[in-house]
């Protein structure tokens, strides 16, 4: 039972009224176990037990559980915790198969050994640790400075490595606007700061993990350092100054990003589930592509027809939400594109089922090409079918109705005109002109079976009757 105790002497106190019990235990220890056991005392009552415990170091107290002269509750309460390493077991003659521990858990004898060994180990550890700090003093002043210097050097190394590493990875898209300049500058500044601060903390942590490990068998505590007020003030004040400085730079950059050009090109951006429409009031152009002249500021007036959307071209960096509600809720966004090329605006505020697909081309061209485009757009086509195709694009029809038969949100237009349509309310109608007009002006009136009733009621509010006729002409050609 007491296998591993050859190293230390176990000092035992036996508390029982029964001589037989006491003698029995004594011979058990001495004869069977070969453990060095010192019976500190045998006592027959509570008061004597307390006396002994106060005067002597005792490791193990064995209490006769059957003895009703001994008030176990009182006795046990005194010796629970308090940093004492004593262990108390209650043994009963009437229940020889098990011993009861002071926390009143019953353990069969087979598990008792395990418990006992575990306790013995732990109390050895406790003894050593309460002896205080490791007396081997290897933390002299110069040693500490050495640690700081090495760690500090490694911080610089890791910072450099991180910055170089970050340079190898694609991080930001190409910068294609003047607004991107101060923004990217801030990004660069912050990436450096992030690399440095990350290294600062992580290097000191890793250094501690490697250098300040607990040596095997060393159960003593480390140096008792509670704090350092000067250090606290320093590492509160310096970050405070840094964040105030960063905020100041941020405010300045924001002003630069939003600097208005009074001669900016004006474009109205109307967002709706799930398409974009761009209107150039100066030219009377309605387009589903945002075409912009390079190096000229455009001021976008953003509004939504339904829920909140957001305008964002990553290469231009800036974004702004589109709010519903008309005049009062129009918001502006200013962009000065600097690189000719093709980009995409993608909605950046979750707006429903097809939010992922709410995108439109943004094409930056030279001023000359832009003028050509304007001329093309304002000259209206004489062909109603061609016009109809244009309106279908610009007013968002094609974001929900396909031209090739595939099922998007609404019924496909392929083969639609003149066909028989089964409605959700059970009626069957012919898809004639009246049907199409009603579908645009009053979408909820005749929902096709198998399709959701989500076509917004206001989708056709800007569509004149003539334009609807053009759309019908276009649909008629889709066989």
């Amino acid at each position: 039972m007491f296998r591993n105790f050859s190293r230390s002497t176990v000092r035992v106190l036996i508390a029982s009224n029964h001589a037989l019990f006491r003698h029995g235990l004594m011979s058990l220890f001495k004869k069977k176990l070969g453990v060095k056991v010192e019976i500190v005392a045998e006592v027959t009552n509570f008061e004597s037990a307390i006396e002994v415990l106060e005067k002597h170091e005792v490791d193990l107290v064995i209490v006769d559980y059957d003895d009703d002269q001994l008030n176990q509750e009182d006795f046990l309460r005194r010796f629970v915790g308090g940093g004492g390493q004593k262990r108390i077991i209650l043994v009963s003659l009437s229940n020889p198969e098990s011993a009861m521990l002071y926390d009143r858990r019953e353990l069969p004898l087979s598990q008792f050994e395990e418990w006992f060994e575990g306790w013995q180990e732990a109390s050895t550890k406790l003894k050593v640790s309460s002896a205080g700090v490791d007396k081997r003093n290897n933390s002299s002043r110069s040693n500490r400075m050495k640690h700081f210097v090495v760690a500090g050097f490694l911080v610089v190394v890791l910072t450099v490595l991180l910055i170089l590493g970050a340079g190898q990875v694609r991080l930001l898209p190409v910068a294609a606007s003047t607004q991107a300049q101060p923004i990217d500058q801030l990004f660069r500044l912050m990436f450096f700061a992030i690399a440095f601060l990350f290294s600062l903390i992580v290097v000191f942590m890793l250094y501690s993990i490697v250098v300040f490990r607990r040596r095997k068998g060393d159960e003593s505590d480390a140096r008792h350092i509670e704090g350092n007020t000067k250090l606290e003030v320093t590492w509160t004040t310096i970050p405070l100054i840094i964040v105030l400085g960063l905020s100041f730079l941020g405010a300045r950059s924001l002003a630069e990003v939003e600097r208005p050009d009074p001669k900016a090109l004006e474009v109205d951006v109307i967002g709706m589930q799930w398409t974009w429409r761009f209107e150039y009031p100066r030219y009377g152009i309605v387009s589903n592509e945002l075409v912009l002249p390079v190096n000229k500021q455009v001021v976008l007036y953003l509004t939504s027809q339904d829920v909140i959307h957001s305008f964002w071209v990553p290469e231009f960096r800036v974004k702004q939400d589109l709010l519903p509600g008309g005049e009062e809720f129009v918001r502006t966004l200013r962009i000065t594109p600097t690189e000719i090329g093709s980009y995409k605006v993608r909605c950046a505020e979750l707006c429903g089922i097809r939010h992922a697909y709410m995108e439109s081309p943004v094409i930056v061209v030279s001023q000359a090409d832009f003028d050509v485009w304007v001329a093309q757009q304002t000259g209206e086509s004489t062909d109603p079918v061609e016009r109809g195709r244009k309106w279908s694009n610009q007013y968002g029809c094609l974001s929900c109705h396909s031209l090739d038969g595939s099922k998007l949100v609404g019924p496909s237009w392929l083969g639609l005109f003149g066909s028989e349509v089964k409605l959700a309310d059970g009626r069957t109608v012919i898809a004639d002109e009246a049907y199409i007009i009603e579908s645009i002006r009053n979408p909820g009136a005749a929902i096709v079976e198998g399709y959701p009733n989500v076509m917004p009621a206001n989708v056709g509010q800007d569509l004149s009757d003539e334009r609807i006729q053009d759309i019908i002409a276009f649909i008629k050609t889709l066989r």
């Binding site: 629970v80 395990e114 003593s220 941020g250 829920v307 974004k319 008309g326």
Partner: protein, 637 residues
């Protein structure tokens, strides 16, 4: 002699029955009243909302947690400390109402792990979809629902985890025998169950497509599932508020003799700061969600511009809670880090007072920054710069914690058992999360980052670092104290060494694709962005994290049943629950009052004592304590 407990005596079973009945009553009541008023009988919005409300009430009545309050209303006396039915043992005990904060803490903890796993499963589903551009198997409407549920269910899981840690630990750490209001404690736990059922129920009600932030006008028009989402969050809020109330009252009133505020274990400081936020700010998400429900139910117009409303009002109300909420998620975790480092470094917590006060610093500043979520919202432009300043200011008290942690382990004597590994991992991950904050806090750069995966990377890092890793550290650390058995150290290390690098891959990947143009909350992304490979890596990382958690759960379950029995102060902690209490902890914690006679973290100071039982004071006259007869053996389960 164990009497067999009938199935219908188990609280959870009764609660579910109550919830079913309540739902039916709600549906019936609405339809009935509408019929009487001559309206069309079936209005799904009204019917299902009332069904959800009655269902929750039904659950709470039948689970039994209101029993004593009903007695008080009827003028009946109840015992000072409510006892649970002694016939409930094992599973039955944990699935029924208990008023013991330790049982409630375990209920919170196990429920937290289940809920977190559920949310994680949702994530694995849509992460699999995101492996490549195009739709693989998850249609956009289902994607939006699953993505939304991942967010809100995970938030619920984190609140449960915070509840687990606070409720289990605070009374033990301050030397109390339970919380100030044990019945309220039980109520605050149990209301989470019907609330989570409501959230998951949205899957069967047409889903929802709004993301957990539920912005109107989209949320006023989104499918029916939105109503149970709003209602479920509302009830989770009740739990937060009542739980917080209990913590504050407990910390203010039940500290042991000699335990001044600056002699409390530092975890109690973070629990108190967390509670202050949860008590007050939570009302605002309840309010904002309720107003959306009223829009849907009664045609009200708070956020509809066409009718005089303003969608930005919602965002102000919502974020006024939801920003401080993130500090609710992480402060207790940061407290766990501060609590464990001294034990494993054998060195005092550096600058204890500063660390303690920094928790309140973070909480207070955290109330002043909400509009940084709204820089692109179209709110008044002049608000942006002040909120930028206040946002960046949070870095200061947070920095105090980081520097203190490093200073604690510097020149320490570190050992690396699993809890310490998770604490060290937490620090590095929370660091990454925190450092990715300023680019969002600076308005100009936020114009690029808002609503992108950079934000997703930022908050996953702060959540993993501030909540999940410390929560796991706490479970490993207190596991032997709670169960009386030791977890398997090898499995614990495997868990850690899988989860840490996988998380770095996930987080850095998310931040990168966000910078390059990947928006949030999309089922499909443009191949032109050329981010396919990064997404593949992120998805693989997610799977690795999931597997590592499964390993952990196996470890916990097996060790709790068959692990090596330990009853000693295995970590040699100075904290009262380790130094003064046997393992497992008896029903009412400390058998007699304890006294604080020293500082909590005086490792390395020879002879320093922190706490002791009142009666073990030397040379002190002990009065006869009044004790009950020796009751049943303290059960280990």
């Amino acid at each position: 002699m164990k009497e067999k407990v009938h199935l219908f005596e188990i609280g959870l079973v009764r609660g579910l029955i109550g919830m079913t009945l309540g739902v039916l009553i709600g549906l019936g009541l609405v339809s009935g009243i509408r019929a009487l008023l001559g309206l069309p009988v079936w209005n799904p919005e009204a019917a299902w909302v009332l069904a959800g409300v009655f269902g929750t009430i039904g659950f709470m009545l039948m689970v039994g947690v209101m029993r004593d309050w009903i007695k008080w209303a009827l003028g009946e006396e109840t015992p000072d400390f409510p006892e649970t039915d002694p016939r409930l043992q094992g599973w039955a005990k944990y699935l029924s109402v208990s008023y013991d904060h330790k049982i409630i803490g375990i209920q919170y903890g196990v429920t937290a792990l289940i809920v977190i796993s559920l949310a994680g499963l949702f994530a694995i589903i849509f992460r699999t979809e995101l492996i490549a551009p195009g739709i693989q198997f998850l249609q956009p409407q289902d994607y939006n629902t699953i993505m939304t549920l991942h967010g809100i269910v995970m938030i619920g899981g984190m609140l449960l985890g915070v509840g687990a840690m606070s409720n289990y630990l605070v009374p033990l750490l301050i030397g109390a025998n339970d919380m100030a209001f044990p019945r309220l404690n039980a109520f605050a736990y149990w209301i989470n169950v019907p609330a989570v059922i409501l959230l998951v129920g949205t899957l069967f009600m047409g889903g929802l497509e709004t993301g957990w932030t539920g912005y109107p006008p989209l949320s006023s028009r989104a499918p029916l599932g939105t109503q149970w989402f709003l209602l479920g969050v509302y009830f989770i809020g009740f739990s937060s508020i009542f739980g917080a109330l209990n913590i504050i009252a407990t910390v203010m009133k039940l500290r042991a003799k000699g335990m001044t505020y600056f002699r409390m274990p530092v975890f109690v400081w973070t629990a108190a700061a967390t509670a202050l936020i949860a008590l007050t700010a939570t009302q605002l998400i309840g309010l904002s969600f309720q107003l959306v429900m009223f829009e849907r139910l009664f045609g009200m117009a708070f956020f509809e511009p066409a009718k005089g409303g303003n969608p930005i009002l919602f965002q102000h109300l919502f974020w006024f809670y939801s920003h401080p909420a993130v500090y609710v998620f992480v402060l207790t975790g940061l407290g766990v880090i501060s609590e464990l480092l001294p034990v494993f470094a054998r060195k005092p917590l550096f600058g204890y007072r500063w660390v303690a006060l920094s928790s309140f610093g973070i909480a207070l500043v955290g109330f002043l920054v909400w509009a940084h979520h709204m820089f692109t919202s179209g709110m008044e432009p002049y608000l942006r710069v002040p909120f930028m300043y206040s946002t960046l200011l949070v870095a200061v008290p947070t920095g105090v914690k980081f520097f203190s942690w490093v200073a604690t382990i510097w020149e320490g004597k570190l050992s690396f058992e699993t809890p310490m590994l998770f604490v060290l991992g937490a620090i590095s991950i929370f660091l990454l999360g925190g450092l990715s904050g300023p680019p969002n806090g600076v308005v100009a750069t936020d114009l690029h980052l808002q609503d992108t995966y950079w934000i997703v990377g930022h908050f996953h890092a702060t959540m993993f670092g501030g909540f999940l890793f410390p929560f796991l550290a706490a479970i490993y650390y207190w596991f032997p104290k709670i169960t009386g058995r030791m977890y398997n150290e090898t499995l614990g290390k495997i868990h850690f060494y899988m989860m840490l690098p996988a998380f770095y891959v996930q987080s850095l990947g998310q931040m990168q694709v966000g910078l390059l143009g990947m928006r949030r909350r999309i089922a499909d992304y443009d191949p032109a962005l050329q981010i396919e490979f990064s997404h593949l890596l992120i998805t693989v990382a997610a799977y690795v994290i999931g597997i590592s958690l499964i390993i952990a759960f196996i470890n916990f379950a097996y060790s709790a049943a068959k692990g090596k029995v330990v009853t000693t102060n295995v970590w040699r902690s100075r904290s009262p629950e380790w130094a003064l209490l046997p393992t497992p902890i008896p029903a009412h914690n400390y058998p007699e009052p304890i006294e604080v006679v020293g500082e909590p973290y005086d490792y390395g100071l020879e002879g320093a004592v922190y706490v002791r039982l009142s009666s073990s004071a030397p040379l002190r006259e002990t009065s006869e304590p009044s004790l009950p007869p020796d009751t049943a053996v303290a059960s280990a389960d």
